[in-house]
Assembly symmetry: C2
Homo-oligomer: 249 residues x 2
């Protein structure tokens, strides 16, 4: 089995290498990771300028692009053969609820799914006040590899991926397959003045919990379970399709 590992925190991120180690027993692992952190870059692709790829160790590339660039270039330029699964992570921070729309970690997995390769995104859910030394990337990597193993054995339908979030603890309570909920943030657009007296804005508020019910990803992950959510690249809302058709007929 051939595995392509990507992330969005960058080649030197603390979550990448525990996952690399955990995937090694499953097959031949290749790494394509951004040379610098690319958080909140979402699904951007770099098509208007060149990319550099540097092989830092055998089969492990640091790339001057986004997470989706890394997967694209891995698939079509760097890997000798097509991988059987794409794994992205471990992200330093959860990707729960609507976070998946902003996440570079999920976008890297989605890019694989769009090219017809099953994919898994893995993120570590922790309180942002916690120090990096207290983060259990090893446990998240263990869970991520366990899910990747299942995907290698059983496959996923076309354009599908699994989004995995692991709570920050030495041992998770178990695994739960649950739908996305809705992540709530404070809304904030702070109006300030720079040292030269000119106005500027700073946007983005702190996370404020989850909506979507007790059985949605955020609530279940908060209880200590690793959550697994199957995602589709097809955003069509088929119920609305029928309703909106009546507007224009």
């Amino acid at each position: 089995m051939r595995i392509l590992l990507a992330n969005d925190d960058g080649f030197h991120a603390p979550g990448l290498w525990p996952l690399y180690e955990a995937l090694l027993p499953l097959g031949d692992v290749w790494v394509c990771a951004p040379e610098r952190e690319q958080s909140a870059r979402s699904h951007a692709l770099t098509m208007h300028k060149p990319l550099r790829a540097r092989e830092r160790k055998p089969q492990c590339y640091a790339i001057s692009g986004t997470p989706a660039d890394c997967v694209y270039l891995g698939l079509h330029g760097l890997l000798e053969d097509r991988p059987d699964v794409i794994v992205s992570g471990v992200n330093r921070g959860a990707n729960l609820g609507n976070d998946v729309l902003y996440s570079g970690t999920v976008a890297a997995a989605m890019e694989g799914a769009l090219h017809g390769i099953p994919a898994v995104a893995v993120s570590l859910h922790f309180d942002w006040t916690q120090e990096v030394e207290t983060l259990h990337f090893d446990e998240a990597a263990r869970v991520g590899a366990l899910v990747a193993k299942q995907v290698l054995e059983r496959g996923l339908p076309h354009r599908r991926l699994l989004n995995v979030n692991v709570p920050n603890r030495p041992h998770v309570e178990g695994l739960r397959v649950v739908p996305l909920g809705e992540r709530l943030y404070d809304v904030l657009a702070d109006h300030r003045t720079d040292p030269r007296g000119r106005p500027y804005w700073w946007i983005g508020g702190a996370p404020q919990g989850f909506a979507g019910g007790e059985e949605s990803d955020g609530a279940v992950c908060d209880e200590g379970f690793a959550t697994i959510t199957p995602l589709s690249a097809d955003l069509t809302d088929h119920d609305e399709l029928r309703r909106v058709r009546t507007w224009f007929s």
Copy 2:
């Protein structure tokens, strides 16, 4: 009615102002657009550095950020009151099939939907060999405003938006409400050498038509119809949810 208009091609893009004019009869229009082109920026949000917003004419702001930044800052900083609808476009180029995952135009509308405001993304579908002078932004703007009017009257469920693509012609054949198909591109990762002898890559191939059947968005838009696709911000695949549950039980 209050309308927030955004785009990803930038404040000076040729598709923005025809849509502005077409929306004026519907209500009080505010513009929040990137000061420079932001194509293929997807759903990136700028939370790690300041943003500048310059009021170029009354209620019309050029913002030093991404399309999603523009909507966020419009909603929480610039507009006096909450808008009733968010419209994004007219994008210079289609956003059909899996394009919606990369599109800044769709991301701007999605950002509105995530904040509970109904949203419409409007894109002009044309052959890239056509000159900008031959582009019928007026017709795309007319269709976009017609769809926005329906949304203002009838509403959309929480976290939903309408993705509209208009073929480049003086008059469309009609409007069709259809699911996303799959857009096909040549895969290309071109390996080159720079003037100093160092290797680099250039990724991204040309569009190669659509898959997904005769009734999907790309095929129908190619026939001369404006297409409308309801999209959901909830990417959960509920069929797979049931299947994947059996793996871990």
